[in-house]
């Protein structure tokens, strides 16, 4: 959320995170090297680099893929999500080292172009077991490169968030190709049941966590659907839907609502209630899980801010989200799910002090 783009928006947390990340990478490489020296003392330095970087990048990709669902299951994992970008770029650089060393070691000795050699050294493209696994690794690396190269906020804004999201969902295609790359590599070269078992365990973890997180999200979405339909009470205008009781929303926090497919964050602050679209413009973070800080809705993921009454980021920032009409009748809150254009000012609904007092007494 900078006025001018920085190369990296450093924070104290990011510094600590990066130090831990680099320590992990260094420790893994040292331990892997030591273990290989004991178990396979005959391997060359190039092979050692290929194996160490390949396994490390694969492990890091699993961690990256597990972070999203873990955060949906337990908010304590959120700090990993805030810094996942650096983990992703580091993983790509390690994967790139693996790829470059492979090409240098196996495809630069002859008189054929190294990339041509990569694709023609094994031509069993019709075979499942003997399929040229190196080509799969190459295409996966291209996807990971595109993701790493477009990880800066400039790309998110200028490619547009939906296009950026689609591009970055390519990680699943890359993961599928890398799993095949590893499995075929193990089958064709290593024949190690331990490596096949570890790859299977990794896949099981990634798929299992995604299924559990999706199930939990589905339950959450169901809970966010108000039970009432269009309000039959005569003094509630047409289009408004019963959302919840005033007391259901903690102060300076929000309740997530899904009404007629609209994903809405209904915020309570002071004696006011405002509703905005639930997805942050930055990376689709859930605004309803954020809180009001300095009078602004603050996204829990990267701290992007919006004014609750008009959905606009405070100047000089320019991000905007849709707004909705809210009204309060007694202790009941009603929301009209018809969105206003992004950044449209809507008057907040006021909680009458008598009801506010009743709420305090009831708590």
């Amino acid at each position: 959320m900078s006025v001018i783009y920085d190369p990296v928006h450093w924070t104290p947390h990011k510094n600590v995170y990066d130090k831990i990340l680099l320590a992990f990478v260094g420790l893994y490489l040292v331990l892997f090297g030591a273990l290989e020296a004991i178990l396979h003392p005959q391997v060359t330095a190039e092979t050692l680099v290929i194996r160490a970087t390949g396994t490390l990048a694969f492990l890091m990709l699993h961690i990256i893929l597990c972070i999203g669902p873990l955060c949906r299951l337990d908010k304590r994992f959120l700090p990993l999500l805030y810094n996942r970008r650096h983990l992703g770029v580091t993983m790509f650089l390690i994967g790139l080292t693996h790829g470059v060393f492979n090409i240098v070691q196996f495809h630069t000795q002859g008189n054929v172009d190294p990339l041509v050699s990569l694709f023609v050294s094994n031509t069993h493209y019709g075979s499942l077991v003997r399929f040229p696994f190196q080509s799969l690794g190459f295409f996966a690396l291209i996807i990971l490169f595109l993701m790493a190269a477009t990880s800066h906020d400039f790309w998110l804004k200028n490619l547009t968030p939906p296009a950026w999201k689609v591009l970055h969902m390519g990680v699943y295609a890359a993961y599928a190709m890398i799993v095949m790359h590893v499995m075929l590599g193990v089958i064709q070269l290593e024949k190690s049941p331990v490596l096949i078992g570890l790859t299977g365990l990794g896949m099981f973890s990634v798929i299992g966590l995604h299924v559990v997180a999706a199930w939990k999200q589905m339950k959450k979405d169901q809970a966010a659907r108000p039970s009432g339909v269009h309000c039959p009470i005569s003094n509630i205008p047409q289009g408004f839907v019963y959302a919840c009781e005033v007391a259901d929303i903690p102060d300076n926090r929000a309740k997530m609502l899904i009404i007629h497919s609209e994903n809405i964050a209904l915020f309570k602050y002071g004696n006011k209630l405002s509703a905005v679209h639930n997805l942050c413009k930055h990376q689709n973070g859930p605004l309803s899980e954020g809180k009001i800080i300095d009078g602004c809705i603050t996204c829990p993921w990267h701290g992007y801010q919006y004014r609750p009454e008009d959905g606009q980021s405070p100047p000089p920032f320019k991000e905007m989200v849709c707004t909705y009409d809210v009204m309060v009748e007694g202790t009941k809150v009603y929301v009209n799910p018809q969105p206003y254009p992004e950044g449209t000012a809507r008057p907040p609904a006021t909680i009458h002090s008598s009801w506010k007092s009743l709420e305090v007494i009831s708590q």
Partner: protein
């Protein structure tokens, strides 16, 4: 073999064109598309270079259409 050699050469040409375009884009194009990219540091320009080289057809179209 010949088909693969041809495709690899196309890939190299794409990268070469991308590198030339990216140099121009991080120098002028990024700022023409995005106010927040005006006056960015050389480090930020270097960070934008690989993506600009890879996505040059998309950016060229956008630069011609929306650039100011």
């Amino acid at each position: 073999m010949e088909t693969i050699r041809f495709l690899v050469n196309v890939f190299y040409l794409y990268l070469l064109a991308g590198a030339v375009f990216a140099a121009l884009f991080v120098w002028r194009g990024a700022a023409a598309l995005d106010e927040a990219a005006k006056g960015i540091s050389w480090k930020t320009r270097a960070l934008l270079f690989p993506g600009s080289a890879a996505l040059w057809p998309v950016l060229l179209r956008k630069w011609l259409k929306d650039g100011h």
